[in-house]
């Protein structure tokens, strides 16, 4: 039993089930990120934890107490909203202590809590201002401050950084991570940004179409995605998915990729278990950083395969150069060192780190387990 238990939770509107049997146990101090495209059900799930939406089936428990039907204010949670939801008519100080006031906390205690949190977030000088007078980043801090003052069991974040500009978003991301490391609070955080999910979380739940597609640590999600959806949703640029066939060479499984012109290339798998798939079609998944120039290849890898192909487009991005090629009739992207000498139209010998390659069953879209 976890600190926050989501047990077989479903949500329906009328006859339409929008959330299907979600089962997650969150440990104390954990930073769980719910990530997925819009409409995947992640915000609905968060609102159900908060008590802002009813639970159709299953139960949610916080610290062992089932909270289905418990009013949001009695769940000892705090929430940071996407729009920050600061009360426009109150000062920053009043905003932050409103919840304590509603819970009947005496004034001196409120003031003390406010002073502590304001100091922690470095917003002491803003306490008498109205939200309208604050910048986006300041509002964000105030919204977090309002949550912190309550000292809740669970913090809920609903896309808190999506209204900030790109640079501030990165700064605040670091800020939130620092805060979590310092306070060791339990956090459930909703975002559609997979980089936020990777950087902040201790665990990620990738959601799509009302299902949790995969629940795991950032490394698990990234290296061993459970299915094609998770593989392509997490990571930027997305994982290359190439149609291939498993063939045996000297008893060892290889991926055979056929190009439009009929030419066949083979890449040796690192997983011997794929022998069982001999002669069958698969989807080969290779992340862009696993296709590099030979000098940039991972030295620790035990299985670097060479792949000769024509370059169609190069996109220098400063730190790296992204190179597009056609593989198995589809575009594939390689991530090269910035100073690798490649040019569009030329042929090039790429190094493919097959240790990092994964294979998916085209029928079920699930990853073929080793």
């Amino acid at each position: 039993m976890g600190f926050l238990d989501i047990r077989n939770v479903t949500k329906s509107y009328g006859n339409v089930e929008v959330l299907h049997r979600v089962d997650i146990a969150v440990e104390e101090g954990e930073f769980l990120v719910l990530v997925g495209p819009s409409g995947c059900g992640k915000s609905t799930l968060l609102n159900m934890i908060a008590g802002l939406e009813g639970i159709t089936g299953g139960e949610i428990a916080i610290k062992g107490r089932v909270v289905n039907g418990v009013h949001p204010s009695k769940r000892n949670i705090a929430m940071v909203f996407q729009s920050y939801a600061l009360y426009p008519n109150m000062t920053v100080g009043q905003n932050m202590t409103f919840g304590l006031e509603m819970h009947g906390v005496p004034k001196p205690e409120r003031e003390r809590a406010l002073a502590d949190v304001a100091k922690l977030l470095q917003i002491d000088h803003l306490l008498d201002r109205k939200p309208g007078q604050l910048s986006g980043g300041q509002r964000q801090r105030v919204a977090m401050g309002r949550a912190l003052v309550r000292n809740p069991d669970v913090f809920l974040f609903d896309e808190p950084l999506s209204n900030l500009d790109a640079k501030l978003r990165v700064d605040m991301r670091t800020e939130i991570k620092k805060l979590h490391q310092k306070l060791k609070t339990t956090i459930v955080y909703v975002t559609h940004d997979q980089i936020e999910a990777m950087t902040l979380s201790t665990r990620i739940a990738v959601m799509n179409k009302g299902y949790v597609q995969q629940l795991g640590t950032p490394k698990e999600i990234y290296d061993t995605p459970a299915n094609l959806f998770v593989a392509t949703f997490m990571g930027s640029p997305a994982m290359n998915i190439i149609p291939a066939k498993v063939v045996l060479r000297d008893g060892v499984p290889h991926a055979a990729v056929t190009d439009a012109d009929g030419a066949e290339r083979v890449l040796r798998f690192s997983q011997p278990s794929l022998t069982a798939w001999e002669g069958k079609d698969i989807h080969l998944g290779i992340r862009p950083e696993a296709i590099t120039d030979p000098e940039g290849a991972d030295r620790k890898s035990g299985n670097i395969q060479s792949l000769s192909n024509r370059v169609t487009v190069t996109e220098p991005a400063g730190s790296d150069t992204f190179v597009t090629m056609t593989l198995g009739g589809r575009d594939a992207i390689a991530r090269m060192r910035a100073d690798a000498s490649v040019a569009a139209g030329q042929s090039y010998d790429f190094a493919v780190n097959m240790d990092k390659a994964v294979a998916f069953d085209p029928a079920t879209e699930a990853r073929i387990l080793p």
């Binding site: 139960e59 062992g64 089932v66 289905n68 039907g69 418990v70 009013h71 009695k74």
Partner: protein, 297 residues
């Protein structure tokens, strides 16, 4: 493990409190609007005279109503009045809005002048125009004093023309409001569209005819709905301006309903005329409101 999944008291309270707050208004609406409509509709099928009674007479009131010359006058009048009122108000409103939108100096002074009549009661408007159009002291006399001895303007005393004086006064009262609606519409048009059209070589006339006016469709629709509903309800203005006269020349459905119900003691017929008025307005308003509310879902 505590396993109570029934909502706590506070959650349940918050579930029905909003509905409880809304309930009185809803009940009042159902009773005083829809209940009353039903009551009047029932009366229109009864032989009610001075007081309501429930002697069922079927369609008799409606048959009588359509045979009455006064009702037919009222129908002809409302048709003339509504058509002219809507067309002229829209034309004047659009013209003023387009002209005011040309970076006019003093727009801030002109706009309130065009709009202020809307703040007045129709009774005030009627009184002002009644005496201004009165041949004995008003316009006709003024023009004659200014030297045009043969000038004649006696519409308000002329059974054939009196209905047009109501149009004049009603246009005076409402056209500024239509102007404001169109002006808001014009100001809402993305300026880049206009610039693009000019780069495409459209003249001012083409710009308005081909681009701007089609974009004002929602404003046209709103203006039409509001004006037609004001036209059918028009009662005060007729009472104050002509009193339905001369004779019965400016009888309208609204005045007809009032006089048959309360002064001529023909409540059944009065009720049936009210039902016809409601049907007419509902035919315009219901699709409009339905579309408006559906869009926002």
């Amino acid at each position: 493990m505590t396993a109570s999944t029934a909502p706590d008291f506070r959650t349940r309270l918050q579930d029905w409190l909003p509905k409880l707050v809304l309930a009185p208004s809803f009940a009042v609406t159902i009773l005083f609007v829809y209940g009353f409509i039903a009551f009047t509709a029932v009366l229109s099928f009864t032989g009610s005279k001075m007081l309501p009674n429930f002697k069922w007479v079927g369609w008799e009131n409606y048959e009588k109503l359509w045979a009455l010359p006064a009702w037919n006058t009222a129908i002809v009048n409302i048709a003339i009045f509504a058509t002219l009122y809507i067309v002229i108000c829209t034309a004047v409103g659009l013209l003023l809005a387009v002209f005011l939108d040309q970076k006019i100096r003093g727009e801030g002074v002109l706009r309130p002048i065009y709009l202020y009549p809307m703040a007045l009661s129709f009774i005030v408007t009627g009184t002002a125009w009644k005496w201004f159009l009165d041949p004995g002291i008003g316009l006709e006399k003024v023009v004659r004093l200014w030297g045009w001895e043969s000038f004649s303007f006696t519409w308000i005393k002329d059974g054939d023309m009196a209905i047009y004086t109501i149009v004049i006064a009603a246009v005076w009262q409402t056209s500024g409001f239509v102007m404001a609606m169109f002006l808001a519409g014009l100001r809402g048009i993305d300026n880049e569209i206009l610039k693009a059209a000019q780069i495409d070589g459209a003249s001012n006339w083409q710009l308005y005819r081909r681009i701007v006016i089609p974009l004002l469709r929602p404003a046209f629709l709103s203006a039409f709905v509001i004006l037609s509903h004001l036209a059918i309800k028009s009662y005060d203005l007729v009472v104050a301006l002509t009193g339905g006269g001369p004779g019965r020349a400016t009888e309208m459905p609204a005045t007809f309903m009032y006089s048959y119900t309360f002064t001529r003691n023909q409540m059944g017929i009065g009720a049936s005329s009210a039902v016809i008025m409601l049907m007419t307005i509902a035919a315009i308003m219901v699709p409009y409101l339905y579309a408006e509310l559906k869009e926002k879902k």
